[in-house]
């Protein structure tokens, strides 16, 4: 085995096949090599990584290590990391050194992970292609001419190219699942409130959820175990006990009721993707799952609903970036208004501005009822659709994306086409449901993802279903040409 899954790496560390310092060095070398081609990271923290790895090695030696001790990790640059630049891939925060760690960062640090750096992303997580980053687009390791998806494009590309065994990510409308699908890796967006949002720079607070991108479902279970749980500093985090996700992985599929979403198999879906997804469904059926077609009539309204709610919240969340206390400030402001206008005009990119303006509009006097309030009502209807569906089935299945990864620059001139890329993923965010994307095949040489959506707090069930499928298939273990993971950290060469 040389797939460099998290489980494999953790086992290697436990067995002292290599030290965390050796492993860290190997990944850092790989990152250095990959940066010009992929641009997956915004910041590399080599020095602090090696220091953290040395501490992890001590813990591994003295027997106080946990399951993730010494495991290298990349954090999406939306998570605040103390003493390290936290940019949200925006010029606005290109000089921002966070004075504190996000709760998720703290928890993973306490679990012993070693941060290699910060992943590139769409600016303020607004985008589906990683092209809105101030630091330039991320390239898909499967084909450098295509996008990795977004907003967590850097995280997905990094894991696909095995620049780390795992990378944290966030998902507001599909930002974990869509890039995971487009890069052929596993991504989980937990239930809203399952993982703390404290220290995660807000885009749309009622939709944002932190999760992780890994090679396998087993890896995702191990990571989620460390990330999940109530945080008194996040009022929207939920105080529900965290189950043992790894223990649940072995749950048999016999009798699992899978619903396939009528609305996800209609017009616009690439037939090659449909084929892969239906094949995956057959694999679950062979494992004993039953299948039923389920309709969520209001689901087609999820894109317009999302593009009212998310910009509304974003327009308010991003008001704090005013050039007064931190972040970009324009040169020689004439007066206060000039300071605000130019700092924000210079600090934000076009897509962020578009959403701030959309959001400001939908919340304005005279438009609030027609847009924001109506969107909230539709959101409630979509919630209700899901609730009804989960009365009949245990989880819902469908494609993650309508197409495979598209070319860099192909959709940047048409925001609506870009937005429609999230047509299958947004529903889970609006309803706060846990959802995953796992690799299920290839179309035209590019990865295809199948999406699983479960009821609130059913992460264990989703992970078990994904794990059962991944035991039968190897799509998740395949690496892009040139990015094979058969490097040996213990050898002097490090990266191959």
């Amino acid at each position: 085995m040389a797939e460099k899954t998290l489980a494999e790496v953790a086992a290697g560390l436990k067995a002292r096949k290599y030290s965390s310092v050796e492993l860290t060095r190997a990944y850092l070398a790989r990152i250095e090599q990959a940066q010009p081609a992929l641009n997956a990271l915004v910041t590399v923290t080599a020095e602090s990584a090696l220091a953290a790895a040395a501490v992890a090695d001590q813990r591994l030696a003295d027997g106080t290590a946990g399951p993730l001790t010494g495991v290298p990790i990349i954090h999406k640059d939306i998570f605040c990391t103390a003493g390290v630049r936290t940019t949200c891939a925006s010029r606005m925060l290109s000089n921002f050194i966070s004075p504190y760690d996000a709760t998720l960062v703290t928890r993973l640090k306490e679990a012993g992970t070693v941060m290699l750096g910060k992943a590139n992303m769409d600016e303020f997580a607004m985008g589906s292609s990683n092209e809105t980053s101030y630091f330039g687009p991320v390239h898909n390791p499967w084909d450098p001419k295509v996008v990795p998806g977004g907003s967590s494009g850097g995280s997905a590309a990094a894991v696909a190219a095995r620049l780390a065994p795992l990378a944290t990510a966030t998902d507001t409308g599909g930002s974990i699942r869509q890039p995971a699908a487009l890069c052929g890796v596993t991504g989980i967006k937990p239930t809203y409130g399952r993982v703390s949002r404290y220290g995660m720079i807000a885009f749309a607070s009622s939709l944002d959820q932190a999760g992780v991108i890994t090679v396998s479902a087993e890896d995702a279970a191990m990571t989620l175990q460390a990330m999940a749980g109530f945080d008194p500093r996040d009022s929207t985090s939920v105080d529900v006990p965290v189950p043992d996700y790894t223990a649940e992985l072995g749950t048999p599929m016999r009798g699992l009721r899978i619903g396939i979403l009528t609305e996800f198999f209609g017009e616009g879906l690439d037939p090659a993707i449909e084929k892969s997804v239906r094949e995956a469904l057959a694999a679950w059926q062979r494992l004993g799952a039953t299948v039923k077609e389920v309709s969520l009539p209001n689901l087609p309204l999820s894109v317009p609903t999302y593009y009212v709610v998310a910009p509304a919240e974003c327009s308010s969340n991003l008001a704090r970036f005013d050039g007064v206390r931190f972040g970009h400030r324009c040169e020689n402001p004439k007066d206060l208004m000039d300071l605000y206008k130019r700092s924000r005009a210079e600090g934000f990119g076009a897509e962020v501005k578009r959403r701030i303006m959309t959001g400001t509009y939908v919340l304005s006097a005279g438009y609030y009822d027609a847009y924001y309030l109506k969107a909230q009502r539709v959101r409630a209807l979509i919630n209700e659709d899901f609730r009804r569906a989960f009365g009949e089935v245990d989880l819902l299945l469908g494609p993650t994306t309508p197409t495979v990864a598209f070319g860099i620059g192909d959709k940047t001139s048409d925001p609506i086409t870009m937005y429609l890329n999230d047509i299958y993923t947004i529903g889970a965010n609006l309803a706060g449901l846990p959802a995953m994307s796992i690799p299920c095949g290839f179309a035209a040489g590019l990865p295809v993802g199948v999406q699983l959506i479960g009821p609130h707090f059913s992460e264990g069930r989703l992970l078990a279903a994904a794990h059962a499928y991944q035991r039968e298939t190897d799509f998740h273990l395949r690496t892009p040409a040139g990015w094979a993971a058969d490097f040996n950290p213990a050898s002097k060469a490090g990266a191959k």
Binding site: F79, C80, T86, C88, L93, F96, S98, P99, Y100, A102, R197, Y198, G199, M200, I201, A202, A204, S205, S206, P232, R233, D234, S235, T236, A312, E313, S315, S316, L318, A319, R320, F321, D322, V324, R325, F326, G327, L336, Y340, T360, L363, S364, A365, Y368, Y372
Partner: protein, 479 residues
């Protein structure tokens, strides 16, 4: 001319809640710290931080709501009020909009003439305060975020007040109430208690309200009264000269004693309120509300009613004496020691004693005389040792030197003459010395009775017991 107009006033009172920490962060709320030393990352609106509601602020707001007989909202919602200003770090203020924690209540206010004015309370909502901007000359402004995130309750009245006096009386009553409840220190200099006034005028008898102006920055009772009266005059001038009042926000400048326009309705911000997705709705259970109800102290109105009944006081006097917990407690301590005449205790506490406190700028707690000392004096009136008039002299000496009443009376020889013989002797002497007046009196000039009283008082140094003197003099002077 101005008699034809009716003034309509509604107040928005901001009371800072006396919590130890801020409404959404753990920073302390103490006043007067070095700038920006009491603001943490949440108060500074750093990227990624989140608000966590202070339960104590909720409890205090519920206390207020129960005290004004209001509806306590079982599920209230925090909303964001969006606008840009350097002392508003997040670019929005967390407030409550459509679903405030306290809905409809009312408050009875007793006016000086004893009439009772009922003022409707539309709502009271929780919100965070902004920081302070200090403009330090051209092009330089400093921001102090110590106050940012301090919990406030904004109490919005109905437009029920019809004069500046009523507005001040209502504001004073709210001030009394929040201090009774222990939810606000009421310190107006420090900005803990301040108000905006919505003022309009209309023709007497008109149904429709006139266009209102909102007066900002009213941080003393005196300013509220002055600013409202100024504004009413301004509006009358405009309307009587054929103009129209525009809806606008006006700032009261106490130095120049004028109001001036800050911004018109057209320039007003569209605050784009929407529910704050970082905070859950505040859901209050019946049990919690009942627990808070059980913790309420005796409220001003309850205390005033009891004072009327227990001590036989007028409604107005009971209102004055219950204006603060401390004053009420002082009065009750005095009254307990002068059980035969609580009305006397009330008059002295409201009169000479309050005047002395005011003159020296002291709080009740700083009184130079304890309740027992004042009661000691009053008991000498009750037992006829001294007259009320002499008592004033004794009181002054007590206040100045912190002495006991008996000591002052003894050392100054102020004991009242209650010996019939001694008073009769004085009367005889005065009658003998003033034969003309005596003759005139007996001839029917009744008014001269006062002359004789005065003469005897003068010759006794005011110590003759007034009632005895009256009786004896009547007998002696009778033809």
């Amino acid at each position: 001319m101005s008699g034809e107009w009716e003034t309509v006033i509604g107040l928005e009172i901001h009371a800072q809640l006396a919590t130890k920490s801020k409404i959404f962060s753990g920073s302390p709320t103490a006043y007067g710290a070095e700038p920006n030393t009491q603001a943490d990352l949440v108060d500074l609106g750093y990227p990624g931080v989140l608000p966590v509601l202070n339960a104590e602020a909720v409890r205090m707001a519920v206390k207020f709501g129960l005290a004004v007989g209001a509806v306590i909202t079982r599920r209230s919602v925090f909303a964001r009020k969006n606008y840009f200003y350097p002392d508003l770090p997040k670019g929005y203020q967390i407030s409550q909009y459509e679903l405030p924690i306290v809905a409809r209540g009312s408050l009875d206010v007793v006016m000086e003439d004893g009439t009772v004015k009922t003022v409707g309370i539309t709502r009271a909502h929780l919100e965070e305060d902004a920081g302070k901007s200090q403009h330090e000359g051209v092009g330089v402004s400093a921001i102090d975020l110590n106050r940012a995130g301090t919990p406030l309750i904004e109490i919005v009245s109905e437009p029920d007040m019809r004069s500046a006096k009523e507005a001040v009386a209502y504001m004073k009553k709210i001030h009394t109430l929040v201090r009774y409840l222990g939810i606000c220190d009421g310190n107006m200099q420090e900005g803990s208690f301040r108000c905006d006034a919505n003022v309009s005028i209309r023709r007497k008898g008109a149904e429709k309200f006139g266009t209102r102006a909102e007066l900002k920055n009213l941080n003393s009772f005196r300013f509220v009264e002055k600013a409202i009266n100024l504004e009413v005059m301004r509006q009358i001038d405009i309307l009587e000269s054929g103009g129209t009042v525009v809806q606008e926000t006006r700032l009261y400048d106490s130095d120049k004693d004028e109001t001036r326009s800050m911004r018109s309705k057209e320039e007003a911000n569209d605050y784009r309120y929407f529910p704050d997705p970082d905070l859950l709705p505040v859901v209050l259970e019946e049990r919690f509300i009942e627990t808070v109800r059980g913790s309420l102290p005796e409220l001003p109105d309850q205390k005033a009613a009891r004072f009327q009944q227990q001590y036989g006081l007028s409604l107005y006097d009971a209102g004055v004496l219950t204006a603060s917990k401390e004053l009420a407690a002082y009065f009750e301590a005095v009254a307990a020691l002068v059980p035969s005449d609580p009305k006397l205790a009330a008059n002295w506490v409201m009169g000479d004693w309050s005047a002395a406190l005011n003159k020296d700028g002291l709080d009740v707690a700083e009184s130079r005389l304890s309740a027992a000392q004042l009661a000691g004096l009053l008991n000498r009136i009750v037992d006829n040792t001294i007259s009320g008039k002499i008592a004033k002299e004794v009181f002054e000496a007590m206040w100045a030197e912190g002495l006991e009443a008996d000591a002052v009376i003894a050392s100054r020889g102020l004991r009242q003459i209650t010996d019939t013989g001694a008073i009769e002797a004085e009367i005889d002497a005065i009658m003998a010395a003033n034969p003309k007046q005596l003759a005139d009196y007996r001839a029917g000039k009744d008014k001269l009775f006062g002359f004789f009283v005065g003469q005897v008082m003068k010759s006794t140094g005011g110590k003759a017991n007034p009632a005895m003197l009256n009786d004896l003099l009547k007998k002696k002077l009778a033809p």
